[in-house]
Symmetry: C2
Subunit: 294 residues, 2 copies
């Protein structure tokens, strides 16, 4: 395990360890998480977007020369799918056959609402090719700047050399404090408690979207996390909507900004990690207003 300054530094270290500038093909989910793409682009990767559907990354559409495959199998960002078992097997088989490595970004895997978290892709890896990236930004708080990579042993020496070049190590007593917080069982208790909080917000949001926004939006079912995606009906301009809401001090993301290639779907991403039920309600009232005046 290598401790990193959040998932972002994990991506940067992996990019600098695994990418040969101008050569290595890095397959990324599209839509996906833009800051992860930035780290790989900065390292000189040739980024190839791969579409996702309700079963996760479409493995058959991976480029055969992919050297690195980045994905969020537990809870695809931002659409929300959990990758099916069949797809997971196909992905690991593809990577093994093509000599590729897999970066599993499990940014919010602690927050599953339908039973226990799914087993990580990393756990099914028989060929030492999966890098599992975890973070305390969601399970604790982003200001900690603490995450980690569970890496194959063959890759650790290069990753440690990169980490030393970057900043030597993360602040020692932040690491010690989080270790103690985990060892004493506080993190488990905190996650259990917050899972109920987030589940309540999610149910509230899902119900409101289904009951009052059906003319404009179709929420995508998912069982994880702190955000919900909803696909917009034709004629709803989500970029304009997000701008109009920003003027009312309500932050909502248009789905289009998460695409690397040409946007396919049009929609909105609702975050409920930092907004409580009352704030969600205020946001939905404003959104209803704006949609009504389209």
């Amino acid at each position: 395990v290598l401790v990193t300054a959040g998932a972002q530094q994990a991506f940067d270290i992996l990019a600098r360890s695994l990418v040969r500038p101008g050569e290595t093909v890095v397959a990324i989910e599209d839509p996906g998480y833009p800051p992860m793409r930035v780290a790989f682009a900065a390292a000189g990767a040739r980024l190839v977007p791969v579409p996702v559907d309700q079963e996760g990354l479409i493995v058959e559409q991976l480029p055969s020369d992919a050297g690195v495959i980045c994905l969020c199998p537990s809870h695809q960002f931002p659409l929300g799918a959990s990758m099916t078992m069949a797809r997971r097997r196909a992905l690991l088989e593809f990577a093994h056959r093509h000599g590729a490595v897999v970066i599993e970004d499990d940014y919010d895997g602690e927050f599953r609402y339908d039973g226990n978290p799914l087993e990580a892709l990393h756990a099914a890896d028989r060929h030492d090719l999966v890098f599992y990236v975890g973070t305390f930004s969601k399970s604790m708080l982003p200001a900690l700047r603490l995450g980690f990579v569970v890496a194959p042993a063959w890759a650790l020496p290069a990753m440690i050399a990169v980490k030393n070049c970057l900043d030597w190590h993360c602040p020692s007593w932040v690491q010690a404090g989080v270790a103690e917080f985990i060892a004493a069982g506080h993190l488990t208790r905190h996650v259990r408690r917050m899972r109920n909080v987030y589940r309540g917000r999610r149910q509230f949001l899902m119900k409101a979207l289904t009951q009052n926004f059906g003319r404009w939006l179709s929420p995508i079912p998912s069982s994880y996390g702190m955000h919900l995606a909803a696909i917009a009906k034709p004629g709803v301009d989500c970029d304009l909507l997000a701008q109009a809401l920003a003027r009312r001090n309500i932050r909502i993301h248009s789905l289009r900004r998460f695409y690397f290639g040409q946007p396919i779907e049009n929609g909105l991403i609702f975050g409920y990690g930092a907004a409580d039920q009352q704030q969600l309600e205020q946001g939905l009232v404003a959104l209803h207003d704006e949609l009504g005046s389209l």
Copy 2:
């Protein structure tokens, strides 16, 4: 000002902001601080070592195509010279004439023993070409992982983009805590107190080296910091000495390891930041032993 995870991340951010891989010539002091070179090498810089003497970096030996010039003007690492005013003026004039930028690494500028700290090179910069790198690793503690760059305004947007790609920001409440520590005057008091502690250790070490090691070593006078360099007389193999002392659990560095090009001088670097007078004494007894049995 950009807050960084120690001076090391400042070097990495500067390297990634300022270096065009395979093209940019980066002039470095030789001997110098190896981890700084690593950050620039990783960014694809063409490193050119430049010798130093008792007046600091020898400006006349800078390569005319230097794009970036890295140096420690307050207290050259590891030899200990403070750069003279004439050399400072010549350096800034050279950089301005050749379109180069200067990275001023002021890793221990707070600890001057002969009067107040020298004015930073940055303060004499009339052309927005000096990047001043400071750190709390020496004035407070390395485990903090906190440093900073005072950068020309033109360079900050690129540096902030790099920092975002690396890890977004340093832990928020570590920054807030250090800010409060400074604002309340604790850092000034701490530095003042530690300056006396380090001065005492330094005088003890200097006296012992002069009185008892004159047959083998000539300490280099300097007025800053937490280490002393001593040049070895011919026939003293400092690499072997350092190894022999390591077997006695005493860490001392051979000067040769700080060279990028062919080592010119042979000597030892004595650190007294983490070793108190008693530990220094034990180390010197062991060193005397080893030197006597050469």
